[in-house]
Symmetry: C2
Subunit: 336 residues, 2 copies
Amino acid sequence: MLNGNQTWIFSNKPTIISTGVVGGPFEKAGKIKADFDYFFDDQWCNETSFEKAHTALIEKASDFAVSKASIAHSDINFFLHGDLINQITPSSFAAKKLNIPYLGLFSACATSMEGLAIGAMLINSESANYVMTGAASHNSAVEKQFRYPTEYGSQKPNTSQWTATGAGLAILSKNGKGPKITSATIGKVIDYDLHDPFHMGAAMAPAAADTISTHLKERNIKPSDYDLIITGDLAYYGRELCLSLLEEMNISIPQEKFLDCGLELYSSSQPTMAGGSGSACSALVTYGHFINKIKNKELNKILVVATGALLSPLTVQQKQSIPCIAHAVSIENGEV
Amino acid sequence: MLNGNQTWIFSNKPTIISTGVVGGPFEKAGKIKADFDYFFDDQWCNETSFEKAHTALIEKASDFAVSKASIAHSDINFFLHGDLINQITPSSFAAKKLNIPYLGLFSACATSMEGLAIGAMLINSESANYVMTGAASHNSAVEKQFRYPTEYGSQKPNTSQWTATGAGLAILSKNGKGPKITSATIGKVIDYDLHDPFHMGAAMAPAAADTISTHLKERNIKPSDYDLIITGDLAYYGRELCLSLLEEMNISIPQEKFLDCGLELYSSSQPTMAGGSGSACSALVTYGHFINKIKNKELNKILVVATGALLSPLTVQQKQSIPCIAHAVSIENGEV
């Protein structure tokens, strides 16, 4: 099942039998609102702290995913999840409520595809009947932890990004109807010695380019074998840089075939600077928007390359560079 | 390969072909110093911050594991690792240096067995030729992050524990000589509504009891099928509580067959209060001490049940309870 050094081929083609996609009011005003199952009316999600609201997002997404899968909650063997909050407590508190055996993950904003890759591997190897996996983030909880208190009203440069509030989950099974997961490439940590935490698209672009080029090489395929190659949250500047880096590697992808979840989530009138980000970003856009496009046959084959900046406020204070990672998963229309 | 709802049986018996076990000066003064590969002379590990020292511990353990395995560094397909520091940055910075495709994990002090379970699954399903996995912690980095500044000299109750400084790694392969990984049980998050972050043994004991009872039931075996059942870092009080909880479940384990890594790492003369803890604790004691005992045939079959408290300073400040988890992995002498 290992193909090359860091790519898995899933011969049993694990199936995404359902998804749960939940956001907040800012996401409701975004570009793909029709692809969500539910929006909370405010950032508090009926809770008393932003972190508890973060947990509520995950629980609500789980409710939708389980109910749409027409399985019992107890049928799910494993819950693979992560987020950006210290010690991923929103994920762990959700796992407690869900009462499903739990594997906590952290790849920053690449967590969605780390979970989908490992989850598909569990299904493919008959190590699970059903897996629920995904990622979440909460704008206010993340701003509070990583940046200045929002009350300061400090300005941000154009290269900064807007952390999504939401949770995107997928339930995987060996059988059933739905898009098939066909392969995954686990990324290496790539670090071009960039130090600006307000320009994470630039820091993450080389990791995305490395994983994409490795994936194509280890599968011996061309970019044109996919309808779309979709990065996680490189946003405007990072996406441009990634395309340039791929060109330097002699990998040519047409502009219209190379999308970024950070540019699909919000509308251009929203003040998101370079675009969306956060662990939820690639989960929401993949499990909402693109899975729907595969289901209604607008798309046949996509490669989702979630990107993560593995920094912390402390590593920035200690003047360390920003190590980054990208994990890629290919999803196909099983009926073609 | 799924056996029951949350247990994996590894029919290909992934092998621990080598380990790397590194500590600091406090560990050098401990009970199992002969089981370490290397000790740094101080908490700084030749670095300029405790967090960079934390990364250095992982890199040094990797050097030993790779060299003892007699493989090339580039033969290793995946590095599965985690720690307690926010955004697990010490693990990610080590992954960058190691240049091995990386899956970041977080189960607090249960991370060692989360990694060993997933790693064994990757080997068992032929998704990897070689996997390196483990966990690390650094006393000073953790104290700084989770507790009062050490300069305050604040006193701690007897129920508190001493976070280990060290990194314990194992390299897994499908072939080769060494102890075999035969099964794993992934734990649920268990929460008895305890709130005292200075008594994590009590908070974690129910999670350990739940995972042990589930493991025995899903494998249809008895405690006596193992030479030892070894918890991660319940320490003195947590171990006693866990034994009582197991008795209530009609699972009887003799005192001398039920050990805890937190009670094996340090000598009784060291001021560790209830015992050792930290993500490194179960990794150091398992990959050092107990793997050696399996290799020299003092032990044939053990079950390691790493335990994690999934709290953060913020969840404590917000007066939330302490959700806990335990993951169990069985290791056997392959030659018996």
